[in-house]
């Protein structure tokens, strides 16, 4: 590749354009979140007056009054529990698929692929009906169960790809060297498998954190409503004020930590997102 000055300039322009396009909605929502109620409709990209009013209003009144604290706890709790269970179940399945020879291996992979393509809206009605009968409607498990289902394919494909790369012979080598099977597993295999499981955990967490369809269909109150669903029901302080500022502030709170996290672990996430597609 020749590396002329002109090429370098074009390259830089392209990079800057991509970066700006990616960042605009983020910068915009951050900007909105710092605007005062008086300037929120000033249509300027950069706030003319900074204030933390929108953030304060989200947390005023404590857990019982605030429209945001309970949904935030729900979002965190539901996403973390989903991630935990999903990774355990997917690790079992992925270990079996990557390591063991048994009929039904390809059925399992094909099945997971089919679930990945399944339209969630098709299960919303039956789940709504079943959950009301079973008392799961508007509860944490009522959301965790469907999230588990729809995150498992992602977790299984990611983990299978990672587990296939692990040099499993090391386990035997450690045992030859005098380690007990458990030591061999804990000191050799676990450290090798941990990065893959961590990657899969990030992907599952983001999936559960992001969901909106189940969150608004299977909940009816702050008992289990997650942030994306709560945002859709935000109201202004009075009938005549728009909740724009509070939505923006809440959006920033649920977005910025995830972005930082994603950027910190970007190599792993890229590997995880593409692993299934390349091998599959």
């Amino acid at each position: 590749m020749e590396n002329t000055g002109r090429e370098k300039t074009l390259w830089t322009i392209a990079l800057v354009l991509v970066l700006i396009f990616a960042l605009i909605p983020v910068l915009w929502i951050i900007s909105l979140s710092f605007k005062t109620p008086a300037t929120i409709t000033d249509q300027s990209f950069i706030p003319t007056e900074f204030s933390f009013e929108n953030y304060e209003s989200l947390f005023t009144g404590g857990i019982s009054e605030s429209p945001f604290i309970k949904p935030l706890i729900n979002s965190l709790g539901i996403a973390l529990i989903t991630t935990f269970i999903s990774i355990i179940l997917a690790s079992f399945a992925a270990y079996a698929i990557a390591r063991l020879d048994f009929p039904g291996r390809s059925v399992m992979l094909a099945g997971a692929l089919a679930i990945a393509m399944f339209p969630p809206i098709s299960t919303v009605g039956p789940l709504f009906d079943m959950w009301r009968a079973l008392g799961l409607y508007d509860t944490w498990p009522g959301l965790i169960i469907p999230y588990l289902t729809f995150s498992l394919p992602l977790a299984i494909y990611t983990l299978v790809a990672f587990f296939r790369e692990i040099p499993w012979d090391l386990e035997k080598a450690a045992q030859v060297d005098g380690a007990t099977p458990f030591q061999a597993f804990r000191k050799v295999i676990v450290p090798l498998a941990a990065p893959g499981m961590f990657t899969a955990a990030i992907l599952v967490f983001i999936f559960a954190w992001n969901d909106f369809l189940f969150a608004i269909s299977l909940t009816s109150s702050d008992a289990s409503r997650t942030v994306p669903a709560a945002l859709a029901f935000f109201t202004g302080d009075s009938t005549f004020t728009q909740p724009t500022g509070s939505i923006a502030a809440a959006a920033v709170i649920v977005t910025v930590p995830i972005i930082i996290f994603v950027l910190l672990f970007q190599r792993r996430i890229v590997a995880g997102l593409t692993s299934g597609a390349v091998k599959g």
């Binding site: 090429e7 390259w11 830089t12 990079l15 991509v18 970066l19 990616a22 960042l23 909605p25 983020v26 915009w28 929502i29 929120i40 249509q43 300027s44 990209f45 179940l89 399945a93 079996a96 063991l100 009929p103 039904g104 399992m108 099945g111 393509m117 399944f118 339209p119 809206i121 098709s122 299960t123 919303v124 009605g125 039956p126 789940l127 709504f128 079943m130 169960i145 588990l148 289902t149 729809f150 498992l152 299984i156 909106f212 369809l213 608004i216 994306p228 945002l231 859709a232 728009q242 923006a248 959006a251 649920v254 977005t255 972005i259 994603v262 950027l263 996430i269 997102l273 597609a277 390349v278």
Partner: protein, 293 residues
């Protein structure tokens, strides 16, 4: 040895069972239940009026103008946004692959949309285009009072933009993974033979990437077909911008008409099945053609 094989087989099934059960419990059983519901009159507002009605719900859905409008909207949005994503994603993948410098910058910026909650992105774009709060109407060449969400196709253009912004990264990453499998020697050889950059792209890159492109298209098309969050936040389905998923949601959850809603659910499931079969057929037919294992 057979004993060992048998125990390995049992262990394999045992380890897969929990995941398999968790996946089937919320897909296979509900879709079966949806089919049962769709054959009945089930309206939670009138619980006493139940009963088997055969395919009446289906004929009601299929003869309503709303279903066909929404199906058109969904297909229209899917085709347009996936096409844009494919072109843009390919460009970004090529940039990342050939990057002289700044590969990290592109990867970073590409992952930002991936990390953002779809609902948040939808709100951000909506506020950006809204005539009262948005900065977009302040930009040159755009009328100051343009009401983007007041008309069907301008609303569509904002919806498509938000979708493209959110999901192009995934497309780009999948395509990049496909790109890296192509042997660089092919390009040098073609260059020696005097092939232009465009010829190298159309004669080498595209044919060799056909499987990767089809896989990426399959995933994104099915994903686009389920579009719900962005439309729900931006227009709520007003100005004839509903998708089939919004229609299903409204019948099921807003109107509590489980019979009609389930018929819509089953029809959406069948659409997805048809799309998947078409793509898988395409994949199967094309793989031997590319001649690579």
């Amino acid at each position: 040895m057979t004993d060992r094989a048998r125990s390995e087989r049992r262990l394999g099934w045992l380890l897969c069972a929990p995941a398999a059960v968790a996946m089937l419990a919320v897909t296979a059983y509900p879709i079966g239940y949806a089919f049962v519901l769709s054959l009945q009159r089930v309206d939670l507002r009138f619980p006493e009026e139940g009963g088997f009605v055969g395919f009446d719900n289906y004929s009601a859905v299929l003869s309503s103008e709303l279903w066909w409008t929404d199906l058109f909207n969904t297909i229209f949005l899917s085709v347009i946004s996936v096409s844009i994503e494919l072109c843009l994603g390919m460009a970004i993948a090529l940039v990342m692959h050939r990057a002289i410098f700044g590969r990290g910058v592109v990867r970073t910026s590409v992952l930002i949309p991936y990390g953002i909650v779809t609902v948040v992105a939808a709100f951000s774009w909506q506020f950006a285009f809204a005539p009262d709060t948005g900065f977009v109407n302040q930009l040159p060449l755009i009328a100051d009072d343009k009401d983007w969400f007041g008309e069907r196709f301008s609303a569509f253009s904002v919806i498509i933009m938000a979708e493209v912004w959110k999901t192009t990264p995934f497309m780009a990453l999948l395509l990049l993974a496909g790109l890296t499998t192509i042997d660089d020697g092919l390009y040098s050889a073609a260059k020696v033979d005097g092939a232009s950059a465009w010829q190298r792209f159309t004669r080498i890159t595209l044919p060799l990437m056909k499987p990767a492109i089809l896989v990426a298209l399959l995933f994104r098309t099915l994903d686009a077909f389920r579009i719900f969050d962005t439309i729900f936040i931006m227009t709520g389905g007003a100005q004839d911008t509903q998708s089939v998923s919004i229609l299903g949601y409204q019948q099921l959850i807003s109107r509590l008409n489980l019979g009609l809603g389930s018929a819509v659910s089953v029809l959406i499931f069948l659409c997805v099945l048809v799309i998947a079969v078409i793509f898988v057929k395409g994949l199967g037919a094309r793989q031997p053609e590319s001649g690579r294992a």
